[in-house]
Subunit: 520 residues, 2 copies
């Protein structure tokens, strides 16, 4: 039934394919039944002209030919590249101009990720926009309990909040690091939470090939090995050890997901000036080179592996060493990066939407986050990481910031729907019901359209100063404090087949008891 | 010497043209000597395609032909339009399709506004970006004294802060309403403050034709009547009484500025659903129609009058009646409006940059403001009103918000400079000084470029959580509190010819003593 090493549990708990498919169709949602397949209806921002983009691509080729890239400790990756005709010297691989681009050509320009609740299936690529919450914070913060290390309960909370939000389409992976769980067992609890408390497509473990394989196996318990041969339900987020290094952990995790027919998002992580030259043109060329090589490896493992062309680059204050986010330079390079990915013909990850270096969910946080999000949406990124919650340059996930960002995600999606220009939208009849100097509030056209015309902010307070003062003069952050608690109170888990749940728990238990705890 | 009614002061205090010109060249600045002539180096965002823009233009023509527009109490305006061939019935004017567009065709596509400090002269139109602070708030607020009615001292403070900021190019007009000065005398104190405490181009009174004339006369004392026949130094901001009405106050003030060879910015003020149909396509068509008619009038008064095609439209929460700002719908219509203005061939005002309905300078304020500002910058607006300070939908000007916005203006201008893609920016030599897995911090390329590569935020704190906590865990708003006070402490007034200053004060005194105070 499965190509993997996963051993069938002693008791047959997984239902038949037919039963599973039927359940997937029937899945009831406790969230609004909006489709997660969201298509933009506005143009992409054409930041760089073709000549500039070609020059960047040529520079990427120069890097791969003259400097090369290293795969450290991964003989299988080196073998695959050698077999494909690359120049492999020890762990260094060099490519002729155009070779890596050509190896990427078998990656699909768009693909679906399936959910057992069909309305939560998504499409990555083309004109589609997929938003996902933050990834990777070791800390959480909220106004009640302050800043502290994240726990599994926090992780589960953010999975639940993500499941509840109609503006997040993807569950992310390690939304926060559950540091109360041993490092070598975290992935099990995280994957279980994604499968149990949400139905949105998600990312599994990547911190070792075994953990990647465990993640794939748990997905198979839910979705079936056969189904996963032809359908993508899980992704691995593969970070590059920039500059120009893939370490064994990442490249072998990449190979696990690709071999299983699942997706990888390849993301060079570059802080300009440290992991690359400080100028944005160099950041773009190097990111392009590094990302393409990961995509090429996925295609060598399995042609047609669904990939996401990723990046995570930002600026640094080179006097203090602090990372800066939402900066003009990083916003520009996110835009240009989207253009490069579109030229390569694959779905594009934006480095991050609502990024911020701020230490609280204040004006700085929203200034940086909003600006970055606008850049990604207008540029046409397909998959926007870190669309909710990020603070402190990713060190902390803020509960308040999370729901503040959700409101802004809603605005951005409404904006990406564009302006309708047609006969109805001109409202000619309204002009015949009123006069110059008159009021359109009571015209039929207004009555008919006012409920749907405008996005209704869920947290913004546009009321009077007097009323706001009477209500306690709460900032957006303070109002957000009530929102996330209310959401968690109202959370209802999606249905799950009890047999599947039992199999997942059994798998976890078996894996956990097979190894001692590791805390580093 | 002057075409105006201004009577020469008894004493000859104004220096000769030659002396004035010499002084303008020598003018010393206490602000960074960056040129205020800023050109964008990034493309305009092409939100709507040509067919949609043409449909909006056709709908504007339909409105002007089938409904028409009223000029109330302004016989001269009616006469001018009748003479130009429009269909004038009472105060209602109707136009054949294309007629108003044709009347606008003599307006220049760009023009200069001169400053006595040449580095503060600006160009409006083309690829130029001009940022100006807020306009019109009756209240001010800061963290020390809270929210209160604005006074002349507040007005002067904001003129000084504007003068000091290298990222604001234009002084605005009634930045805040100095409510401690009688309504019929405020314009004198405001124009004096713009001329005395700043040298940036500015806007004069528009609340009656006499006040507009006084403003022009005071500008003449500084710049000379002859100079102003050929050069623009002052503008009037002309609001339309939307829907489809110009009242006498505004249309006659428009005529005063145009007759004096100065500039008018024509700004329909539309809250969608009340002053127009609620759909954005209708807002755009009606705004286009209304703005064009004002521009046409300026050209009938004096061909070649330098104009700005303006708009001030936003959304309402039609359930509560609250105005909302930075909303997705208004951001989109600002973008489309910029396209319409470019097609008309005149400089475009964006309704406003850093608008917000928030009652404090919190996350909501910066979320709304940043999103709106990004829309305007990317769309290619030439003159961005309300780029600093706005709170409460314009009811209040925040001292902290002002400097928070200034920082963001700096980021936006840096972004509008685009990405440099050339040989130097690729930094090939840096790759030859390091290795895969290495560090670029010490390469020659980083050393050479790190100081100029990235915008340095003046208020953003990207430092560690621990350091931020030790420093008092200040929000952006709290940090901004120190900034504006420091700026005001460091303020140094620009030089002014003592004779000009005396003449300005004499003019004010004479005007003030010629009429009783009016407080409404």
């Amino acid at each position: 039934m499965s190509k993997s090493n996963f051993k069938e549990p002693a008791r047959k708990v997984r239902p038949s394919r037919k039963g599973r498919a039927a359940r997937m169709q029937k899945g009831k949602s406790t969230v609004p039944l909006t489709s997660s397949i969201f298509k933009r209806n506005i143009p992409r921002y054409p930041l760089l002209h073709t000549e500039a983009l070609e020059a960047i691509e040529e520079q990427a080729d120069w890097i791969l030919k003259e400097v090369g890239i290293e795969f450290r400790g991964d003989d299988e990756a080196l073998r695959l590249f050698k077999e494909a005709g690359a120049d492999v010297q020890g762990e260094r691989i060099r490519f002729d101009s155009g070779h890596v681009t050509q190896l990427c050509s078998t990656a699909p320009d768009s693909f679906r990720m399936e959910s057992r609740q069909p309305q939560h299936s998504i499409i990555l690529g083309g004109d589609h926009i997929v938003l996902m919450p933050g990834y990777g914070s070791p800390f959480v913060t909220d106004l009640d309990k302050g800043r502290r290390y994240a726990t599994l309960e926090d992780f589960q909370n953010f999975v639940k909040l993500t499941y509840q939000s109609p503006v997040l389409h993807h569950g992310s992976g390690t939304i926060v690091e559950p540091v109360d769980v041993p490092v070598n067992k975290r992935h099990l609890d995280m994957v279980y939470a994604h499968l149990r408390y949400s139905t949105k497509p998600f990312m599994g473990g990547v911190t070792s090939p075994e953990r990647a394989q465990d993640s794939v196996e748990m997905a198979k318990i839910m979705y079936g090995a056969d189904f996963m041969q032809k359908h993508c339900v899980i992704q691995g987020n593969i970070n590059v050890n920039s500059p120009l290094v893939y370490d064994h952990t990442m490249s072998s995790a990449l190979r696990v997901y690709a071999a299983a027919g699942q997706s990888v998002a390849v993301s060079p992580a570059i802080f300009a000036g440290a992991m690359s030259p400080v100028t944005q043109a160099a950041v773009l060329a190097q990111t392009h080179a590094e990302a393409m090589v990961g995509i090429a490896l996925s295609q060598l493992v399995r042609k047609g592996t669904p990939v996401v062309y990723g990046n995570f680059n930002t600026t640094m204050n080179l006097q203090t060493g602090s990372l800066t986010f939402g900066s003009p330079e990083s916003n520009l390079s996110h835009m240009a990066f989207t253009q490069l990915g579109q030229r390569l013909g694959v779905p594009v990850r934006s480095g991050g939407g609502q990024l911020s270096a701020a230490n609280s969910a204040d004006g700085q946080a929203m200034q940086e986050a909003s600006t970055g999000m606008m850049s990604d949406i207008l540029a046409g990124a397909n998959m926007i990481y870190h669309s909710a919650g990020w603070l402190e340059g990713g060190l902390s996930m803020g509960y308040e910031k999370f729901v503040m960002d959700l409101d802004h995600c809603g605005m951005m999606l409404k904006m990406a729907g564009g302006i309708t220009v047609d006969k109805e939208s001109f409202g000619r009849e309204a002009y015949l019901q009123t006069e110059p100097g008159g009021n359109f509030l009571s015209t039929d056209h207004t009555m008919k359209n006012f409920k749907t015309a405008n996005y209704q902010s869920t947290l913004g307070d546009a009321g009077s100063y007097e009323q706001w003062t009477e209500d306690g003069a709460l900032t957006l952050e303070q109002r957000a404090n009530k929102r996330w608690k209310k959401m968690l109170e109202e959370y209802q888990a999606p249905e799950i087949d009890p047999g599947v749940d039992e199999a997942l728990l059994e798998f976890m238990e078996r894996k956990k008891s097979s190894m001692p705890d590791k805390w580093y």
